[in-house]
């Protein structure tokens, strides 16, 4: 099943609602880049509120898609990382460096708008 990507003005919105397997994660990477190209979106918000764990593979796919989107000129904001996810990612030794994050979707959209205005 593919992850839906919604367009809201110049921003793309993604809410990941179920556990990601490898194929879904890689398909999402491709779909998002095509959608940025298609819509000329300047910003992307990926909401992870429903995700209860992230392993090194999913973290790598996420980190890669953020760098790839930035290469295309779109800024990516990650929102809704749960306490358990933050704890396990750091314990596992994974650093998502230079990634824009916010507590929830609402704060993420506000922060992204400010980033895009700069």
């Amino acid at each position: 099943m593919r992850i839906p990507i919604l367009k809201l003005h110049d921003t793309l919105l993604i809410s990941i609602q179920w556990e990601l397997d490898d194929q879904t994660a890689l398909q999402f990477q491709e779909d998002l880049l095509h959608k940025i190209h298609e819509t000329s979106a300047r910003g992307v918000v990926i909401d992870l509120t429903s995700i209860d764990f992230i392993d090194s593979f999913i973290a790598k796919v996420l980190g890669d898609v953020i760098s790839m989107s930035e290469l295309m000129g779109a800024k990516v904001m990650i929102t809704g990382i749960q306490p358990a996810v933050a704890i396990t990612l750091i314990e596992l030794g994974i650093r998502l460096e230079d990634v824009l994050t916010a507590l929830d979707l609402e704060k993420g959209l506000e922060k992204l708008q400010r980033e895009l205005e700069d």
Partner: protein
């Protein structure tokens, strides 16, 4: 409660971690420990998939001195590890960053034992105790 998942393809990684998460929840682990257990299983299963091609992850309940724990056993007949000390160092990687590596997994659990012989395979036993 004693179950195993054979790891042959990437879908088996999903099956192994779902099994682990269900057992962890049934044993009464909180959300953070459930995430630690699920992540540790995912990493161990991925190591089998990446390096050994075939193996098995088993999830068991254990009891010791009045404590209840969840045991993750990861076993494969892959190429094995020639330098155990090196793979237990942070930052060591042969996959170019595809996995978090064993030191990361060790930090997620309370006990971590590894046995490996080149040409014979690898056996990892990790335990998380219920607090």
């Amino acid at each position: 409660m004693d179950s195993c998942v054979k790891i042959i393809n990437e879908w088996d990684i999903v099956a192994a971690r779902q099994l682990g998460r269900n057992v962890a929840r049934d044993l009464g682990f909180g959300t953070v420990d459930q995430a630690r257990i699920t992540t540790a299983i995912s990493e161990l299963a991925r190591n089998i998939y990446l390096y050994a091609e075939q193996g098995e992850v088993c999830i068991e309940k254990t009891e010791s001195g009045g404590k209840i724990g969840l045991v993750i056993i990861s076993e494969d007949q892959g190429p094995g590890i020639s330098d155990l000390r090196k793979v237990m160092e942070d930052g060591f990687s042969t996959s170019g960053g595809l996995g978090a590596g064993l030191p990361g997994v060790k930090r997620l659990v309370d006990e971590f034992h590894i046995e490996s012989n080149p040409g014979e395979g690898t056996l990892i036993k990790a335990i998380k105790w219920l607090r």
